[in-house]
């Protein structure tokens, strides 16, 4: 019996000491982690809205130039000239894709897109997250839905080149853009009135 008690006591004491140490590590890192998350979103919104900022002054610049509007459970980021950005989420080929889409004051033209998270094939599908590719969506119009064409063949103002070897990821991305656009554009329109 004595041995049993000793066993249990040892484990409990060790576990308590370690948990105590863990709680202090948690207290130290939790605010930093939360801040990282918030900064990440802000960085992406600023990039989608094509606003410049200095890294050290990000939070201040964000607070000065962007106002956050909540409508029906959706979050919108609005600038003074009525450019609106909102988060986009959906399924890619290999995993979830999330990002930010910014729309011009006319309510229908793409200002910019950033991708926050994706798990597509490295070197192929994941190239949709490259700035050079996302730039191709600039000035494209959303009302008819974006269409992905063969690389080099995009002509209309709602067509964008695909990436050879990453067709499925590009199409999944376009699907996400279109469905998020139709879900959010009414809200955007209201804000831009």
């Amino acid at each position: 019996m004595n041995g049993r008690i000793r066993m249990i006591a040892f484990v409990l004491i060790l576990a308590s000491i370690l948990t105590g140490a863990l709680t202090s590590v948690e207290a130290w890192t939790k605010p930093i982690i939360a801040r990282n998350e918030a900064l990440k979103i802000k960085r992406n919104v600023m990039a989608a809205l094509e606003l410049d900022y200095e890294d050290a002054a990000l939070e201040k610049t964000f607070a000065d130039t962007v106002s956050v509007v909540e409508k029906e459970g959706r979050t919108f980021y609005v600038t003074d000239d009525k450019t609106v950005a909102f988060p986009i989420n959906g399924s890619g080929l290999w995993g979830p894709i999330s990002g930010v889409l910014a729309v011009e004051p006319d309510g229908v033209t793409v200002k910019g897109i950033t991708i926050v998270h994706q798990e597509e094939t490295p070197g192929l599908g994941s190239r949709i997250a490259e700035q050079a590719y996302l730039d191709k969506f600039r000035a494209k119009r959303l009302h008819q839905g974006i269409r992905i064409t063969e690389e080099g063949k995009a002509s209309g103002d709602n067509e964008v080149d695909g990436i050879t070897g990453a067709t499925l990821s590009c199409q999944a991305f376009a699907r996400i853009l279109n469905s998020e656009a139709s879900a959010n554009l009414p809200g955007v329109k209201e804000i831009q009135q």
Binding site: L18, L93, W94
Partner: protein, 195 residues
């Protein structure tokens, strides 16, 4: 319903826990020389993975989260896994001695099999519901078993007919075989869209 089927197919084929996520490799190396041992381990893994996922979900969502203690969930999960394995061993010894004779030796090894902990970790990371967790854990375990069985079958044949270089025998050739199968499984990509 469709979502559950998607998750099952994804777990077995397109996002196979062994061939895509590269988990559960330790036993892969030591046990994929013989088809018999490989399938034995596979069955044991299926039992333990589903059981521990089923236990860890309520613990995480009904005990840890409401009390703000999710900080220690790693510790809790691994202890639950160790405990469940012990429990399973005792139950099998008592009520299913035939099973115990066949699969008993694999159980202690499973505690440190990355697959078991990984399934619970993914369940938390992807905030799956209870039912989804059950489907996901079953699918993952099936996928792992599928992978190890295929590799073991190939290796058995290889040893009979092939002339494997000395340095490559054992773990080396297992890796190469697994690599080729993993390459084949890549072909499943795109079958399903998973969130």
């Amino acid at each position: 319903m469709l979502k559950l089927v998607t998750i099952l197919v994804a777990a077995v084929l397109t996002h196979n826990i062994a061939l895509t996520y590269l988990l559960g490799m330790c036993p892969f190396i030591s046990l994929s020389q013989r088809l018999k041992t490989a399938s034995g381990m596979g069955v044991a893994v299926i039992l333990v993975v589903v059981l521990t996922a089923a236990i860890n979900w309520p613990i995480y969502h009904l005990i840890l989260l409401p009390t703000n203690s999710e900080l220690i969930y790693y510790i809790v999960f691994i202890l639950v896994i160790a405990g469940s394995v012990q429990l399973l061993e005792m139950v099998m010894e008592r009520f299913f001695p035939v099973l115990q004779a066949h699969f008993g030796i694999f159980l202690p090894l499973i505690t440190v099999n990355c697959t078991v902990l990984a399934v619970s970790l993914f369940m938390v990371l992807r905030t799956y519901s209870f039912v989804t967790t059950l489907v996901f854990s079953l699918g993952s375990a099936l996928g792992w078993t599928l992978a190890i069985v295929i590799v073991a079958a190939i290796n058995e044949k290889l040893r009979l007919v092939g002339d494997v270089p000395k340095g490559l025998r054992g773990p080396g050739i297992v890796m190469i075989t697994a690599g080729i199968i993993a390459l084949a499984f890549l072909g499943f990509g795109g079958m399903v869209n998973i969130q």
